[in-house]
Symmetry: C2
Subunit: 596 residues, 2 copies
């Protein structure tokens, strides 16, 4: 069975040193927690995920979910584990205290999510989707809807789902057909079929609260005619008790490549009773307001699975003996050296490690921006943070899941033939992490969101805001010889990003299709530059800690070594990506359709 | 169910125009076939693979193999299909006529293999492994062994396997423990456990001929003490009839990520009767002589699965409507445009297409070198071709399977959420093609073979031989304005390859571990440059055909457009890879073991 060690020390570094979250008086509520409390929370999640969730990951994958007599049965152990999960209060961490939540900021929540995803991505999706439903009702629901649903979604007594996709309407929700017919009492009858509904039915809780996109009879065509409804599996009586079953069911389970422990359902709504969330025809807008957070959640899957895959690849590389180092025998007492001596094994592990740690820091930054956008006392900073979080949303989703998947493939490769065999767990990580590149907006959609909506439509304003942060960091360190390798790497990637932006801006007006053709390379350049920024900040902080005689000097030295590798291995990749944009984008647009 | 259209036109182009195989009087036996015959063969394989093998691919994956009462049962339909396969004579194509083969050259065989792999990789492995066993006995067996086994391996009446790996001995065969004890009559008793044995047991044929690596009692330690034995599942009587069962069995089936239709077995040999193939202690050398061909076969899996994945992704992109082109509505009569209008979808498809077609041409070239190394009338060319084939072996295996897998992942991505669902077939392509990066020497082993054995140990002699071919091509075309985009791309990549070689040569003596650290980037640079070479030759030929007023002018124009895209998208990647080698290799070596 795969091992897992929660990266607590890295969380502490990011929270205390890199992001300095314990000294943020301008952030409402941040004064209510301190390192001791947060360490206890993180350690609690670490213990729960390692002890309870991890042992169910491989078995849940093998067993999968079953549809039996119209009901979905989750794998053995999931139901018990879920009960413990909510009994321990892990569902409530970042929720509104008014509804029973603990009010912790996102910057703590992201790391809890990472650990949950590392140990059991399929299981983590049940509370993950619940949080989405909670957030939708919290942000857009009427007081009566909030009173009816939020307490139980926060506690985890009920779970939630998001019903968007139909078989012909995935990325393009304008095409969706599910109908909402008004009833006499202000309620609606929802009819239609939704596919790919994660956690659509299961045996973990007594009720499941579906958020469903549908069209009202008088709806305008396209995305401006979509409304959002809350549709419970079991209707709720006036007194809050459970009533009769609603007219909906999981008609089948999808046969997926991975995340077998999560029930991905085809949902049939056959005149199911629902209530409107927010205004009519404003459903898509309601969904979009939760997008930053939902996409951050998917990005964390990219990181989480990559992290556990790395840990296991490393353990295997230290343990497995095979061949000898090219420079000569390293462990003469054994019949062969551990494969960690081999350069290409080391390369794969370092590529993963430097990606994971840089990404973890970026996830913290992104979460802090989300926190600032809701809690900062300065309205200017609220606005700035909100725009920065929006800019980085396609990066934390699209870039991180893309590279996180590749990291899992590399981790599997370290195992050789054993990596292809289920018992070792590595092939599951590859299968599970693959979905994160697809759902919550494919990575192609993320790439287009980044360059189209977040850069071009914004006329580069937010990009400039961020570029100033990068420039300040560079200027502050440019004369420091010890910072040279990091600053050089960051400057080179940032220059490539500027070049790529300039090229697309120059061409976009005359040739809009070129934006899409260049978008994925642009996303990768931006993602790499963002990590180069986090690694430069990390190096700056590590050097300071070493100068100040920090106890744990090896930790900081290792951060510096990893930062240097990042610059030499990852940051250099932007050079070719810019060339691709400059040379291949127009080929892509001009290529004859018949010639494909 | 996935579709498939055999790329017959591309085969014709490569054979007739690019490689000119029908006018090779110096190659023994090449005068015995002509375009008409070969077209008929290729079309026959195309029909068989499309009609018989493809329909069993998805069902074989779902059903998998079962071990029942000590016997392996293959998926429904496999046994019938196999019978048809051998009845039609498809097993015999490239085999020695002396044993019932058709004597066709490898340059034809590779394309038959590609089609088989495209349509059903798991099924294709049964005859694929048989061919390996045939080749081992053909090259190293005594006359009596040949008489006993070859006819039936050629016809496919019996299948074969290769038993190398043990649980603790994969890449490092020096560690293997299986024993061979001499018996009175010149035979041997083989005992030990082998894992990951493809086609180890099944119900397709009455007998299975295992080639097994084992140690004799007096064997020296390490790889110099390994001998090769032929060990039949059923012993063969003097008169050639089947006798009693040998002392061996498949003790379990591996639970794999993919290729579920192929029975991957743990094999137990418990004093099984075997005969020595070749000289004692020379088993590994015997295996290595077949390596060029075996690794070419695995490389063809990388290409074959990538090709069918591309074809289906393209069909989906043409059919699936979702969203509108950024430049405005393209198909107003539909509710949305086909997703082929979207730049990032086009990018993914072109990346696949240009990789597949360039690789197909390279496979043809590699096969022709193998043919020349066995059939050329000029001993100098025999030697040169043999060295070139050895140089390119790690490229056709390591580079092609690496990029072929990525192409499958991209093809899956084109399908969005549907790509993750089994019914569409795309996720199977990803799972199946993943193994090709691992077996027959992991891609890390390939990378080290390339730079270590094929370049450094060879003192660059064969690399120089090939570089001269590249230079000649460049010089011949450098003044031709129409060839400019291709020549520029090839020159840039070739210069990067030279730079990378120079860097590693300069550092290798002092720092041997750096060779491994740089090896994978080196393999990728070499592979890309090799494809740039094939695309430049393709462009040269396409321009000539257009100048000569060829009928099928669109075919050649499309080749030129694809060649240009290759240079602008793929060839530019070498720039960053060289930087990685120059900057990151020493970091990889110097990184502290404790800091991972």
């Amino acid at each position: 069975m795969p091992i897992y060690q929660a990266p607590i020390r890295d969380y502490q570094f990011i929270l205390s040193e890199l992001l300095n979250v314990y000294q943020q008086p301008e952030l409402q509520g941040f004064d209510e927690f301190d390192p001791e409390l947060i360490d206890a929370v993180l350690q609690g999640v670490a213990d729960f995920t390692t002890d309870i969730m991890l042992p169910l990951n491989g078995s849940g994958d093998l067993e999968g979910c079953r549809l039996q007599d119209g009901k979905v049965i989750t794998p053995k152990g999931f139901s018990d584990a879920y009960q413990q999960y909510i009994d321990n209060g892990w569902a409530t961490l970042t929720c509104d205290p008014e509804y029973g939540g603990q009010g912790l900021p996102e910057v703590i929540g992201v790391f809890a999510t990472e650990m949950k995803t590392s140990t059991n991505m399929a299981f983590a999706m049940y509370p993950g989707l619940t949080h989405g439903a909670y957030a939708a009702i919290h942000a857009h629901g009427s007081d009566s809807l909030k009173a009816k649903y939020l307490d139980k979604l926060v506690s985890g007594e009920w779970t939630g789902t998001m019903n968007l996709t139909e078989s012909h309407a995935g990325t393009d929700l304008a095409l969706l057909r599910t109908k909402a017919t008004p009833l006499a009492d202000g309620e609606f009858a929802i009819s239609g079929e939704k596919i790919f509904i994660s956690s659509g039915d299961h045996d973990l809780t007594d009720n499941i609260i579906h958020l469903v996109l549908a069209r009202l009879p008088d709806a305008p065509e396209g995305v401006k005619g979509i409304s959002l409804f809350v549709v419970p599996k079991v209707l709720i009586n006036e007194d809050g008790s459970l009533g009769q079953l609603n007219q909906l069911k999981a008609s089948s389970l999808e046969h997926k490549m991975g995340i077998h422990g999560n029930s991905t359902c085809v949902m049939n709504f056959d005149g199911a009773i629902g209530e409107l969330v927010g205004e009519p025809h404003q459903g898509l807008r309601a969904m979009f307001t939760m997008m930053n957070q939902a996409r951050l959640g998917v990005g964390l899957q990219g990181l989480g699975v990559s992290e556990i895959a790395y840990q296991n690849a490393l353990a295997y590389a230290q343990d497995r003996i095979q061949g000898r180092a090219l420079s000569g025998v390293k462990q003469a007492e054994q019949a062969a050296d551990p494969i960690l001596v081999h350069g290409d094994v080391r390369r794969m592990l370092l590529a993963q490690k430097s990606f994971n740690q840089g990404t973890r820091a970026l996830m913290g930054q992104q979460a802090l921006w989300l926190d600032e956008s809701e809690r900062h006392s300065d309205p200017l900073q609220v606005k700035a943070a909100s725009k920065l979080a929006a800019l980085f949303t396609p990066i934390v989703k699209g870039f991180v899941t893309e590279q996180g998947f590749k990291a899992c493939v590399d981790a599997q490769q370290v195992f050789g033939g054993h990596g292809y065999i289920h018992e070792w767990g590595m092939e599951q990580f590859v299968r599970d992490s693959r979905i994160a590149m697809i759902y919550e907006g494919t990575n192609g959609v993320q790439a287009l969101d980044l360059i189209g909506r977040k850069v071009l439509a914004d006329k580069g304003a937010t990009l400039k805001l961020w570029s100033e942060l990068v420039k300040t960091l560079i200027e502050r360190n440019i004369k420091n010889q010890a910072m040279k390798p990091y600053i050089e790497g960051l400057m080179a990637s940032a220059a490539d990003l500027e070049k790529a932006t300039g090229y697309i801006v120059a061409k976009a007006a005359k040739n809009p299709d070129l934006i899409g053709a260049a978008s994925m390379a642009y996303l990768q350049i931006f993602g790499i530059t963002a990590l180069a920024w986090m690694w430069t900040r990390t190096a700056e902080k590590a050097l300071q800690c070493l100068e100040n005689g920090a106890d744990d000097s090896e930790f900081y030295q290792d951060k510096l070594a990893t930062a240097k590798f990042f610059m030499h291995y990852w940051a250099v990749q932007t050079t070719s990506l810019v060339k691709q944009i400059e040379l291949a984008s127009s080929d892509i647009v001009e290529f004859e359709d018949r010639a494909f």
